[in-house]
Amino acid sequence: MTGRLRESLRRLRLPAVPLLWLLAFFGLPFLVVVKISLSDPATALPPYTPVLDWDAGLAGWADVLAALDFENYRTLVADPLYLEAGLTSLAVALGATGLLVLVGYPIAYAMARAPKAWQPLLVALMVIPFWTSFLIRVYAWIAILKGDGLLNQALMALGLISKPVEILNTPAAVMIGVVYAYLPFMVLPLYAVLERLDRGLVEAARDLGASRLSAFRTVTLPLSLPGLVAGALLCVIPITGEFIIPDLLGGPDTLMLGRVLWSEFFSNRDWPLASAVAVVLLVIVAGPVVLFREAESRRLERP
């Protein structure tokens, strides 16, 4: 009996490593955020009440629990600003991910079909931008997109436009920035799947009467779906909470959850409300992911 127990403990040891990591660096901090989101703002340090009095023992915990309420969430629901920010964030994230699929798939496909000897170089080229700071790369886009920036100069030199178009500080600039910044996250998982795809399958499809297009539609595309989904998740989730790109390229009017969170936290010093926004953001992002994974694992287990 004890041997059996020891055996199951031994088997739990390996999965325990990531679980403990997740618990210590995500679970506990998130509980703190949830707790703050249920508190009230205060002009104090820290700027919220109640604060747990560690010396009061269990009574202190009870006092804290009694003082918590859902006031901040009610504010979020009541004020259309937050709803609008949430919807805008989702729209930007989904729209950008759609664009990323359109741009990233051909790139990943071309990489996977390139001569084997070139492929490590192509992967390296995809990753090289990470060697410079994300912030600097987004800043660089200001120089490209601004009124007298590189893009407008190039368009005017080509005679496509006669006077500069306003791109910076528009939703289009946010889209451009997001697609640029997240492209590797779409391309690399797709490449990994496409590179391993047996070319014989496409030949078999062609042999059985499929044109190039129909072989792609019926074989390559369905078999690359796991990569597409992985890439899409890697993009949708962080883009929904993206702060730097809308802040630098989108101008002051861009309403996205990341920016709202930032201004609640730093401008208004309303930590409880900022925490509530953070919790809502997590639910928006994690909900569909969990649902999707459920559906996916059910589909894979189908006999």
Partner: protein, 361 residues
């Protein structure tokens, strides 16, 4: 029940001076070949000899660098793979992992303008043909190697191709299953009457499956013929060694030419053998090829010493040391009582031995 196939009117495949060059490498070098409709033709040779390239040229995955491929008189040049009335069974089977057995078989039919009921009927017929009806909803990763092989076969046959190309069709199966499957494949082909072109590196498999065999080496077609002809009358040393055990004795060719009995001046003395394909001019170096079962142990012929006798069940294999130190192998029916160390004589009929050029190919 499937009705017996009518005599095949289609499926005549012709290669005319086909060459295929990859960069500097000549994979297929001037192959001329005319395949009878409704027969099984095996391309036999080592890996890299160009046999698979010939198959891929026929399927349309590659275009020839020179020459023409004709199917029932129609030049296939420029016809894309999906428009060619030939289908291929791939070496790795290339089954679609995201489709179950029935939908794998249906794939080719779905690409045509067929109704759902027609497709379903044809899929059922194909699955019955390969005895996989019970597994139609399984996915490829839930099948054994033999079952996968049958799915691949059913999928390739579903469109009723005029020619079926099979790339090492039994290569992924274990030995016991392979022999059983060879017989099944042969029976299926007889029933359907489809022209089969089989690529294999296994001489035994080629001999079981094929009506005719084409032996390839280094991109060239070395010899074409039924198994018996290749075995009894090999044109080169390579073909002789490929299809079975053979004794080779080197020497200088005497007078004569193709289709005559000639003598060969060997270290064992002058020997007479038949020159089937033209071994070379008089005085040129040549080889005498002799199957062990064509050598008889007795009291007449070339003198030697019996080194050992190995009992192999249906026959006994003798190794005989000759006067010049070489060892010849002879085989005979069990029962003849020769003991090791005894002086013996080896004899053979000149018609049973072949004269070959000395070059290895």
């Amino acid at each position: 029940m499937t009705t017996p196939a009518p005599p095949p009117a289609t499926g005549r495949l012709r290669f005319e001076a086909i060459s295929k060059r990859f960069d500097t490498h000549l994979a297929v070098d001037g192959v001329d070949l005319d395949l009878a409709p409704g027969a099984v033709f095996c391309l036999l040779g080592p890996s890299g000899c160009g046999k698979s390239t010939l198959l891929r040229l026929t399927a349309g995955f590659e275009e020839p660098s020179a020459g023409r491929i004709l199917l029932d008189g129609q030049d296939l040049a420029g016809v894309p793979p999906h428009r060619r009335p030939v289908n291929m069974m791939f070496q790795s089977y290339a089954l679609f992992p995201h489709r179950d057995v029935a939908r794998n078989v249906a794939y080719g039919l779905e690409r045509e303008a067929l109704s759902r009921s027609e497709i379903a009927a044809r899929v059922a017929e194909m699955l019955r043909l390969v005895q996989l009806e019970a597994l139609s909803t399984r996915r490829p990763d839930q099948l054994s190697g033999g079952q996968r092989q049958r799915v691949a076969l059913a999928r390739a046959l579903a469109k009723r191709p005029r020619v079926l190309l099979l790339d090492e069709p039994l290569g992924a199966l274990d030995r016991a299953l392979r022999e059983e499957t060879q017989a099944e494949l042969r029976a299926l082909q007889r029933r359907l009457g489809t022209t089969f072109v089989v690529v294999t590196h296994d001489p035994a498999e080629a001999m079981v499956l094929a009506d005719r065999i084409g032996v390839m080496a280094a991109g060239r077609l070395v010899q074409v013929g039924p198994a018996a002809e290749l075995y009894e009358r090999p044109a080169t040393r390579y073909v002789a060694g490929l299809l079975g055990d053979v004794n080779l004795i080197e020497g200088r060719l005497g007078e004569g030419g193709a289709g005559t009995l000639r003598s060969l001046d060997t270290p064992l003395g002058p020997l007479r053998a038949f020159d089937h394909h033209g071994a070379g001019a008089a005085g040129a170096p040549g080889l005498l090829a002799l199957r062990p079962e064509r050598l008889t142990l007795g009291s007449e012929g070339l003198p030697g010493t019996l080194l050992d006798a190995t009992y192999l069940g249906e026959k006994i294999l003798y190794r005989v040391g000759m006067a010049d130190g070489r060892v010849l192998r002879a085989s005979g029916a069990p029962g003849a009582g020769f003991s090791a160390g005894a002086p013996v004589h080896l004899a053979f009929a000149p018609e049973a031995a072949s004269l070959l050029p000395a070059e290895p190919a």
